[in-house]
Amino acid sequence: MSRRNNKLSHISIPELSLVLLIGPSGAGKSTFARKFFKPTEVISSDVCRGLISDDENNQTVSADAFELVRFIAAKRLKLGLLTVIDATNVQPESRKEWVKLAREYHVLPVAIVLNMPEQLCQERNALRSDRNFGGHVIPQQISQLKRSIRYLREEGFRHSFELRTEEEVAQLETITRNPLYNNKKDEHGPFDIIGDVHGCYDELCTLLDTLGYKIDKENAQFISAPLTTTADGYTRFRKPVFVGDLVDRGPKSPEVLRLVMHMVNNGFALCVPGNHDAKLLRYLNGKNVQLKHGLEQTAMQLAGESPEFIDAVKSFIDGLVSHYVLDDGKLVVAHAGLKESMQGRGSGAVREFCMYGETTGETDEFGLPVRYNWAMEYKGRAMVVYGHTPVPEPQWLNHTIDIDTGCVFGATLTALRYPEKELVSVPALEQYAVPARPIGYNAGSALSIQQQYDDVLDIEDFTGRKILHTRFSHNITIREENNIAALEVMSRFAINPKWLIYLPPTMSPAETSKEPGLLEHPAQGLQYFKEAGIRKVVCEEKHMGSRAVVVVCRDEIVAQQRFGIAGEGNGVVYTRTGRSFFTDKETEQDFITRINTALISTGFYETFNTDWVCLDTELMPWSAKAQTLLQTQYAATGTAATQALPVVVAALQRAIQQNVPAQALLDRYSQRLAQAKDYVTAYRQYCWPVNSLEDYKLAPFHIMATEGKTYFDKDHEWHMSAIKNICAGDTQLFRATSYRLVDLGDMDSENAAISWWEALTAAGGEGMVIKPYTFLNKDEKGLIQPAIKIRGKEYLRIIYGPEYDAPENLERLRSRKLTAKRSLALREFALGLEGLERFVNKDPLQLVHQCVFGILALESEPVDPRL
């Protein structure tokens, strides 16, 4: 701007810039910095000298100190934070490093020169006891400064300010920070983002009309925009956003320009420049430009236009901003797309990327540069909408979408409605040009781009420490060591991550009961929810089998289209650790077919308007999956106990007959024998031989998700009744879950639930699960437990060991800590739901997998396995 500003009281700089304070020692840079910037924004070379050597004036560590300054500055710039370098910066070569750094992070370098009189600097230094360098230093710095100061602009500083006296510094009151032109975060839309028009004026008018805009086509004038009421309740006018390449190849580039200029100049629309628009500008500015790739048509069409119009076009294109960041940073529009590190930044490189994208340096068989698809690696949170490369149909990839559907090549002109994410297209009236490279060349796969990309996930998204955002709860931190464990389990045992959209959370038991002989009792479970402010709960019978997640598609085509999986059947049954439940594919597919048949026969797919479903279930018998465990641990312990104890009892009885005082021992060991027998009875309840599919029982208890929908807003009664309908489709396979509704505080209702639990467990049942009536519940601290289990006295023998209920054992077992288990249950619950929400929202698989991977990682946290 200005390098000499007399009596300046106010200067403004870009909000995202690297500010260099320039001036000799004693010029007052640090004081200046303190006055106008936050302490954390200022990085001082002196401070860094001090940090590494305990002496702020130690010139021998300058190189290391500057490395540190640069390191900190780079970290700040990466985060998009304004940064001030407090160092003398009087030599061009030292400034060059900072300009380079600013460019690396696509921020603007700003120079503020404190060009103070030598005498002042000397006086100030003389007052400081710690600065005792020679008297020659300051004159030398001043001369270096004066020699180079006039070349600041050439060095790359588009913004520079110079202050020459103490008075000028004193007069300066404020430094304001201007948002970058690309920052339109406060524009919330709704928008209609329109793909490459390329002079297709008729199609553009039709598209705008279809979208609800009123256009005076004759005069290329905008009349009005349609209104939309957004989710936050505001009714706003919609706004078109053009992704650029308004001109070339098509029949009516001047009309397109006239209309779009009218809209943009009057604030009814936004537009970012395309490479064709930029080239047109160079042509109009008289630059040596080759008249090809459609520019020849535009040049001809513009030949008859008035000089005023040409001037207007020139200033319009010249004023276009490389890209826009809209709607609180949730949406980015750029002609050729934009990677995350460049969004909201300004540099030549950013502008270049926005208009041309990246190329690999190779050329293809058509002689065209091979484009490097930045979107493949895109992991940003902002949705990026772009054009530039014609595609047969727009496809989402990692939250980005190319909406150039090649209108000028005879295909369609497309708009993306935001935030609705709806695509609206109108067909081209004719083919105006022939593409040099066939559109969609090399695209011949049955899978979408996203699904092809999702074939292999990137390990760096799942290792190290991760913080995962969940919509229903707080952020959840996954520790590195837990991810290490999860990576091994996931890689060695888990099924294709494309199937693995959900893992069930662990469940906490109730507080320990004080009832004699019992460790768990429904009273504590009911009490827990009462204290959490819940009025109504549902008690569901707890089946004793293996937790299984079931995903079923109506057919293999759905598996391919929705899950991106080909040749792996039309569904899957997997365990809590993501492992396939069935060891052979054939049984699994037979099993899926039975479920599918039931879903079809009960009209599930029509009722739920879906062609797939994810169910959370219990699969029985336990012995089907836990065979090894049963044989090596449960039955083994049972045999040992039931074979050894009778011999002991007999020996003690004989001793008593001999008048040995062993009655107390006999009582104890007789009791142990009885407990051992009860233990064997307990585990046997959950075992039966499996010879065919007929021997399996499946008890679904939650409908987790169907196309475009999750069911966390439905209460458990709804889930139970929806599941009951499915169960009716195959009464042999399915087992409906019995349940009771309980009004908390109503003693009769509570007692009925307790009696029901007693009856269930007396009959050999595992116990019951108490859930709040609604699926998701929060109190002031966050989510509350979605379920609490109350296990039966006999069932607990196979958890705590055969003799757990002996009074002396029970007493010790009662002191158990539930905090870790409960915290784990909530984190896993929140992640499980998050993953499904992401899946139904069609997020990239990596985002879904992060949640699933996170649950598996959390499962490796040490908690008492008996809980």
Binding site: D455, V456, L457, D458, I459, E460, T463, I484, L487, E488, M490, S491, R492, I495, N496, E568, S580, L629, L630, Q631, T632, Q633, A635, A636, T637, G638, T639, A640, A641, Q643, A644, L645, V647, V648, A651, L652, R654, A655, Q658, V660, P661, A662, L665, Y669, V680, R684, C687, P689, I798, I799, Y800, G801, P802, E803, Y804, N809, R812, L813, P865, R866
Partner: protein, 458 residues
């Protein structure tokens, strides 16, 4: 849980003097994990039985023990320990019958060295390896062995036999010998120890085994099991016992020795291929405990070596075995170990001349191979890829392998040569590599080599 010692030597109640325990009382001795009771179900001059009854505290046992290793989370809580004769029983013998085992008897010292007819009852004794092992262990010492075996669960006969036995042993021996032998052999049968096995165990074994162990035909087995399969300890003890005899270094049966040789051969073949192709950087994708890495480190032409494995534990072992911490800087700089997975793409795998997958693919479920192919051939994309896998056709040559079974419990598939080559050809074609195959190991005319190798070049 129960050990009974019965004698009919007149007067049988002398057993009370020998054991230093009064026949009319119940005597209780405290153990670290509970207690033990001694009582006499029968005590007449004609027949006297002393019973040693373990009373382990199942809850206390849990609170003391360290996490189990079986992978079963509830192992600590649901287990057979309270009901069996195990190292706890040895411990109980040493505590309750210390005097007798040490050969002291104040009142009737002449009994100490007298061979007395005894009938020993054990309820129940777990025996890894079952009845044959039990007989191999006790019969050479002159015991008459009677066993009663049990189903795992009568209701589920398909689960088979349990490893628990009610055992009766009959022999005429001095009591101290019986006790010493039981002390050693009970945990040997069980093949488990409830405590950490350290160096002092060797001395204990030498002391208690004195006079009978060195002539026992299965002394190797006894020694190894007593020292709980800790190889260096077992070897050390064996050297003491066997003095000048040659000790085989390998733990496992001869079949496994062939396997080991085969594995070394595979690794050397792979290294030779890499050397022939002037490879200077290698990624060992599935390096396990680092055997190939060690071979590669020996050759200076490999400038950059990466070992990747999904098992963090294996990497820790590799780190240890390769003595990475003690390598000179310049050697250390050549080698890097990382945890990673071949089903996730990984930038760290890019930029190597060669990628090596020795016996890796068969550990992946077949549907997951598609991901592995992309990770290796599309993203890592080295010039050279070496993949080896077992040859399923060769399995018929392994006598102990039942038909259709895999060589390793974690193998998800084993391919014939045709299957491997069909896969390899498709992969080569899809990702723009050429491929050639060769057998690994001694080749059979009909079924080929025990293992097979594919070499992909780009």
């Amino acid at each position: 849980m129960l050990l009974t010692i019965t004698t009919t030597r007149y007067p049988a109640t002398d057993l009370g003097y020998l054991l230093h325990k009064h026949p009319a009382k119940v005597q209780t001795v405290a153990l670290t994990a509970g207690s033990v009771h001694v009582f006499y179900p029968e005590a007449t001059d004609d027949k006297c039985t002393a019973a040693l009854l373990l009373d382990l505290d199942p809850v206390g046992l849990v609170r003391r023990s360290t996490p189990g290793s079986s992978g079963f989370a509830l192992e600590q809580y649901v287990n057979d320990r309270p009901y069996v004769a195990s190292s706890f029983m040895s411990n109980a013998i040493a505590q309750a019958y210390a005097t007798a085992m040490n050969g002291r008897c104040k009142d009737k010292p002449h009994l100490v060295d007298e061979a007395i007819p005894f009938e020993i009852g054990l309820s129940v004794l777990p025996v890894k390896g079952g009845e044959p092992i039990l007989r191999q262990i006790f019969e050479p010492l002159g015991y008459k062995v009677t066993v009663q075996s049990h189903q795992l669960d009568d209701q589920f006969p398909e689960w088979g036999k349990s490893r628990y036995f009610n055992v009766t042993l009959r022999h005429t021996l001095p009591l101290k010998t019986v006790l010493c032998q039981l002390y050693v052999l009970i945990p040997v049968c069980d093949n488990d120890k409830h405590y950490f096995v350290g160096g002092h165990e060797i001395e204990k074994l030498m002391e208690k085994g004195n006079g009978w162990l060195d002539t026992h035909p299965v002394k190797e087995l006894i020694t190894r099991r007593y020292l709980k399969n800790i190889a260096p300890l077992a070897r050390q003890a064996l050297e003491v016992i066997m003095k000048d005899e040659v000790v085989s270094q390998e733990e496992k049966a001869p079949k496994d020795k062939d396997k080991l040789r085969l594995h070394d051969l595979r690794l050397l073949t792979v290294r030779d291929i890499l050397l022939q192709h002037n490879v200077s950087s290698v990624a060992d994708m599935g390096c396990g405990e680092g055997k190939l890495l060690r071979l590669l480190m020996e050759k200076a032409s490999f400038k950059r070596i990466l070992g990747l494995d999904v098992s963090y534990h294996s990497l820790e072992i590799a780190q240890d075995k390769l003595k990475i911490d003690r390598l000179p800087e310049i050697q250390k700089a050549r080698l890097q170990l990382i945890q990673g997975s071949l089903t996730y793409k990984d930038k760290r795998l890019s930029g190597f001349d060669a990628g090596v997958l020795v016996e890796v693919i068969e550990h992946l479920d077949e549907p997951r191979l598609a991901a592995l192919e992309k990770v290796v051939f599309e993203y890592a994309r080295p010039q050279l890829v070496v993949i080896t896998t077992v040859n399923a056709e060769y399995n018929v040559k392994f006598e102990k392998l039942s038909s259709g079974a895999f060589r390793h419990s974690d193998h998800r598939f084993e391919w014939t040569r045709t299957e491997f080559e069909t896969w390899g050809n498709r992969v080569a074609q899809q990702f723009g590599y050429s491929v050639s195959y060769q057998p690994l190991g001694e080749t059979d005319e009909v079924v080929g080599g025990p293992s097979q190798l594919a070499l992909f070049k780009r």
